[in-house]
Assembly symmetry: D2
Homo-oligomer: 304 residues x 4
């Protein structure tokens, strides 16, 4: 029988740390994991979109998984992004991540040949990967990066595979999320891919979220989650609404460079991005600092 | 001081009734209103997208408002769609609807000259209309029909006008809805424009919904709303998820022809659509009938 | 047997003239027609997108056609835009335009119910209109305004109707234009809907163009057309490339307000736009004036 | 002083050959090059979109360049695709391709972080790559695969770099192509990225094309090019229109699997695709065979 994994709660998608020469600094990822270990996070995602995974070599990816596993310890779930453009590369990355200690893999869909990515092609791809994977597979839908949006029906088909246990949905389409939750197998776990729609997703039946914002405001994200679980909808809604602007700044608006800049500002390690990404400029820094000083948002602090 | 209006709860956007020659049948609209009056609906929208308003002459629109007002009685709120492509036409329709008895007007944005519909142009338009309107104005954002999506910032600007009291948001972007609720004036009321995202919208702070589904499953929609208000999130979620397929069938998938066919099937008056809309064909009717027989959805029945 | 009409050459889509109170000034349209009559234009389009037709009442439309017919005289083809959202309105407008003197009608597709505008619905609509029309029908595809793009296959189906004689294609997709020219009936005439792709369209087999730019640079547009016809591809290409920037300014970039401002600047009558369109501001005027002073473009002058 | 390279004429973008286990078969690429060497092609592109480059390892890419160089001989230009998601990977691939014998590199833009791919980021990226490249750089814009479209202004900025000599434009927007040709430096060479708009592109000033169709109908593509250059516009147009359907079948419609199937059908080596691409099924094969039998298209034959 296939293993399953409880994905409830909040996961930060950790950025990958680089030095001034854009070289990998795995120990800085470990530093961030230790800083974030004081929060009641369910685990960590590495090598996701915030992890600049498309910029890393296979060797760098393996090193990142190993380092994160060491720092995370046994009590936290470690998810690793392993989606590539070919099925063979995805399987290779998946096996590598599992052998380095990932508890499950997050697999973004191939999207270069958009016109050929029919439901049949996508379901076959995920099925091949899930057959070969030693650990459970989570489907990753991220239209803002892939330029395509997998349909509810396609994801429902994928959910029939025993080793495909969930979905990270970053598109923010709540109707589709409802369709997936209604049509997929019992126990299929949907995670919100952005803090901007965490509460609507929870209301619809999501198990939790993998949230860039959880890198810099972990307690705030956990508070939305817990308030909802405890039935305190007013608090959940208030926390949700106050989080949207900062979340937008470090995701859709200014992306990974802003997330890393915010982490540096807070005493975590953000560090440089890999080109063609450019570091956050002065204007972004000013706007970002203002958002980080908003008292309605419960931001990470070193002494916390 | 400007009047306000409590828009909480559920409103069906009534279709406009035509006979076999596609001529207006205002008394059939009155018939539908009477059928639906047995439910705890907050009121009715006429001349919305489901009302085929773009197909009606100004005289037909006035006749529709007058007939609906008569049938609705004093206890129900009557909203009327009055948005046209020019500011002058919109003002003319708004004044007419108010004089025929509409309690508020729902104004879709002009969208033909998409490239010129800047924030400045849109805010000026709504401001001119709201200045001239004898009744409160509700902004209507409907990207699936207009081919454009008004931004949160634009709507927040509009909300500053004292006679603009709310938004019907049919795009289903919950992040944007959160931004609007966070940034607009105290008391600005957001209504979900589709049952597919009613519960996520309520969780985010929406006051209610204007829902095509409420024409054929009014009790079901009201149940989602009340369960949420009563804190019964499990029931609300279960009802929400079971409604998505039928709702999709009579909106995004097969549109007004399917909604009218479903109404005919249930003993309400659906009747013909105006061309270029085509009546629902046999295949759609079969799929629709199956959805209407789903026991998880609480469908309108004559004897209820 | 149905009439046909030779649509070769260049047509300006005339703006509709308004006074300071946004009221129709039909004699100013006549003034513009007289100014433009010194050029070898094939005729005029009225009530197109540049004619703000969505902002006009039916009575205003009839008055516009009559005035334009009077001014144009017998030697020029008069095309009138008559597409509405319903088939019945489109037929009514078509009959009115024909009775007021239009030689053919240009029918934009209904696009409010985008989800229901299947090939079947669109072909039925155009067929019904063409059956009822006393004059030939030209299909009008304008994705930037309608938010949808009719496919080559749909247009090829339409072209089978004996009273549908051509297409104004404003989307600028040359592959699709090639498919239409390859698949439609012998003699079906395709017109470029924008000067930005006039020469590529002619190379693919277009008969001519209906070009906003022809209002302010008629000789320049005619020169591209004639150079191509005469086999002087180098001149045609040089003229084509030099026209793109000014054309973009008065179409996709700043639209009808900029076109009217340019006409005022040149001694034609531009005049006000109807709201929600806003008049071209100072910044646009400066950029526009610079473009109008570019010596590579052969601009309208009063004394010409 | 930087080298330049004359990119006039027709280039096929060769598929990458795999065996039944999806392993690279470099000698089959050499076989195809030999088959195509009987035509007056200007050279070959390897590792483009038709070369499944996103599916290949760096070692496989180097092997492919070396093999193609050997087979192509000195008289043909060899272009190699070297764009990756990071600047460092792109530079590494570029240096490798140059050292294995590529005459120029074709660099697709990074597009994963679409929201951050501002003009500044893109121009910096291409500038860094062009600085480091031992051979000339051709910019590659391919919206159907990247999900984003680089603007004319961005490409014009890039064209200022002395080592950036041209653009392969696969988006088919002829207005934009005109803007690029008008605004870029003297001698900047634009190539059509698809046979569906070859003639319109040539009319606008393109130097030639890199055309999937040239793998299976090289003489036909060359004929369009030569007829245009010789001023025989009627023949050019006739050949252009007859090529669109087959070209669409092996590109936008059915993609690389159909291209490979067509090559197998004609006696060239197509062979398997890498998953998640799926082989062309029976229905596609039937439609494809019919298109290949169309006598209006001058198809590759073994004995030619």
């Amino acid at each position: 029988m296939m293993k399953t994994l409880n994905l409830s709660g909040i996961f930060p998608p950790l950025p990958t740390a680089f030095d001034r020469n854009e070289n990998l600094c795995a120990e800085k990822i470990q530093f961030n994991i230790k800083c974030l270990s004081h929060y009641d996070l369910s685990g960590y995602l590495i090598l996701g979109s915030n992890g600049e995974q498309v910029m890393l070599s296979e060797a760098e990816k393996a090193e990142t998984v190993a380092a994160a596993r060491e720092a995370a310890g046994a009590g936290k779930i470690l998810l690793a992004g392993t989606g590539g453009q070919s099925t063979r590369e995805t399987i290779r990355l998946t096996k590598s991540a599992a052998s380095e200690g990932a508890d499950a893999v997050l697999v973004i869909n191939p999207a270069y040949y958009k016109g050929q990515m029919t439901q049949q092609a996508l379901v076959s791809h995920y099925s091949d990967v899930a057959d070969a994977s030693p650990v459970p597979v989570v489907v990753y839908n991220m239209p803002a990066c892939t330029g395509m949006d997998m349909s509810a029906q396609t994801i429902i088909e994928m959910s029939k595979h025993p080793n495909i246990i969930g979905l990270k949905e970053s598109g923010g389409n709540l109707v589709k999320m409802g369709e997936v939750l209604h049509g997929s197998k019992e126990g299929f776990q949907v995670l919100a891919g952005g803090a901007g729609f965490l509460l609507p997703a929870l209301a619809t039946g999501a198990a939790g979220g993998i949230l860039a914002l959880a890198n810099i405001a972990p307690a705030h994200c956990i508070d939305i989650y817990r308030s909802f679980r405890n039935g305190d909808m007013d608090r959940a809604r208030r926390m949700q609404l106050s989080a949207i602007a900062l979340n937008g700044a470090v995701t859709s608006k200014w992306g990974v460079p802003a997330l890393k800049a915010a982490m540096d500002h807070l005493g975590l390690y953000g560090g440089p991005v890999r080109r063609p990404l450019l570091p956050a400029g002065d204007e972004i820094m000013r706007a970002l600092t203002e958002l980080l000083n908003d008292e309605a948002v419960n931001i990470y602090t070193i002494n916390e």
